[in-house]
């Protein structure tokens, strides 16, 4: 059956313009499919919020959640910088700053909800997993990457820091020296390196991350759910204070003219390599 976009078929199934979800065999699968590379803007946020609302019901019948991308380019290229730039142009400085804070508060709410979900959550990633896309993956309990996955926090190139909870979550999961390397150099790194530093739990062949995530999710279904929930609460606290601090620092930095210049340069670039430093 052909399903129109934006249709909530039931709480168990949704097909939107940016993402879709369905639940099968106790596993919720959320797939991203917004061209060109799942950039996270207002549309994606709306549909993520829709998903977060549906999660209350979905998790009653689920033990696992898988996030993945249907697009060849990768998991997610991060925040929609074009939308961010264009919106900031059409607004005054104060209004733009308020809009950014509102967006961040809303996306943090969604990501915190997924982070703390009483499910085992898995990001099945491939290709570009940059900025906000990297932050989306970091929300999950496990990251399974195909060997072509590439991770990066390029925000410093724009005069910003990651704003979707990336720093507190990286600090939660990795050593501070690694965090400094990734953040301060802004370099991208591959799945093998990501596994070496403890970020990625499994590296699989090209095109195999979703299959591996499904196999892992099926295994999770064999365990007592209440034990898994108790274990997750114990080992994966939400770094709430740092997350709020990150929003504050991001908003402070965003108001600087250097950021507008950086965004302008990225958006208007005819360089064949805007994703390279």
């Amino acid at each position: 059956m052909e399903v129109a976009e934006g249709t909530v078929l039931s709480v168990e199934q949704f097909k939107g313009q940016a993402l879709s979800w369905q639940i099968q065999g106790g596993v919720i699968e959320v797939s991203l499919h917004r061209e060109p590379c799942n950039e996270l803007g207002s549309l994606s946020l709306l549909e993520l919020e829709k998903f977060a609302s549906a999660l209350d019901d979905l998790e009653e019948d689920a033990h696992a959640l898988i996030l993945s991308s249907e697009l060849k380019c990768g998991f997610c290229a991060g925040a929609d910088l074009r939308e961010l730039y264009e919106r900031s142009l059409s607004m005054g400085k104060t209004e733009a700053a308020r809009g950014v804070r509102d967006f961040l508060e809303r996306i943090h709410h969604v990501l915190n909800r997924i982070d703390a979900a009483p499910l085992t959550t898995i990001a099945a990633v491939h290709g570009v997993t940059f900025g906000g896309g990297f932050e989306l993956a970091l929300v999950c309990d496990l990251i399974i990457a195909d060997k072509m996955a590439r991770f990066c926090f390029p925000e410093l190139r724009l005069g910003l820091i990651p704003g979707f909870g990336g720093i507190p979550r990286l600090k939660r999961d990795l050593g501070n020296a690694v965090v400094r390397d990734l953040l301060l150099t802004g370099r991208s790194f591959n799945a093998t390196k990501a596994q070496q530093i403890g970020l990625v739990s499994q590296v699989v062949a090209e095109g195999e991350s979703l299959r591996a995530a499904r196999a892992t999710a099926a295994q999770m279904g064999k365990f007592d759910r209440q034990t898994a929930i108790a274990a997750k609460q114990f080992i994966k606290p939400i770094p709430a204070v740092e997350l709020q601090k990150e929003i504050d620092i991001f908003c402070e930095l965003f108001s600087r003219s250097a950021v507008q210049a950086g965004l302008k340069k990225f958006v208007e670039s005819t360089d064949a390599r805007p994703y390279l430093p």
């Binding site: 380019c73 290229a77 060997k147 072509m148 370099r187 064949a272 390599r273 390279l276």
Partner: protein
């Protein structure tokens, strides 16, 4: 350890095969963006394939200003 020429040849062969360009049409000094017809995301794909093939880590900032296969091979050779 393999020679710089061997590294260069492996890069050309890998790039030609993956981006479906005849190997003979790729010269060591060609601009790989033009020769392969690739954009920035595909360049990252190429970088990842090269890192996996040679088992090296090549920070992408080292590619700043690099446009030809020979210079790219030199960057990789320095990390073998």
């Amino acid at each position: 350890m393999q020679t710089a020429e061997q590294t260069l040849e492996e890069i050309l062969t890998l790039a030609a095969a993956h981006f479906k360009v005849q190997r003979e049409k790729l010269s060591p000094d060609a601009d790989f963006f033009k020769a392969l017809g690739i954009d920035s995301l595909q360049t990252l794909d190429l970088l990842t394939r090269l890192e996996n093939h040679f088992h090296v880590e090549l920070p992408d900032y080292e590619l700043q200003g690099v446009t030809d296969f020979r210079t790219l091979a030199g960057k990789i050779q320095a990390r073998l």
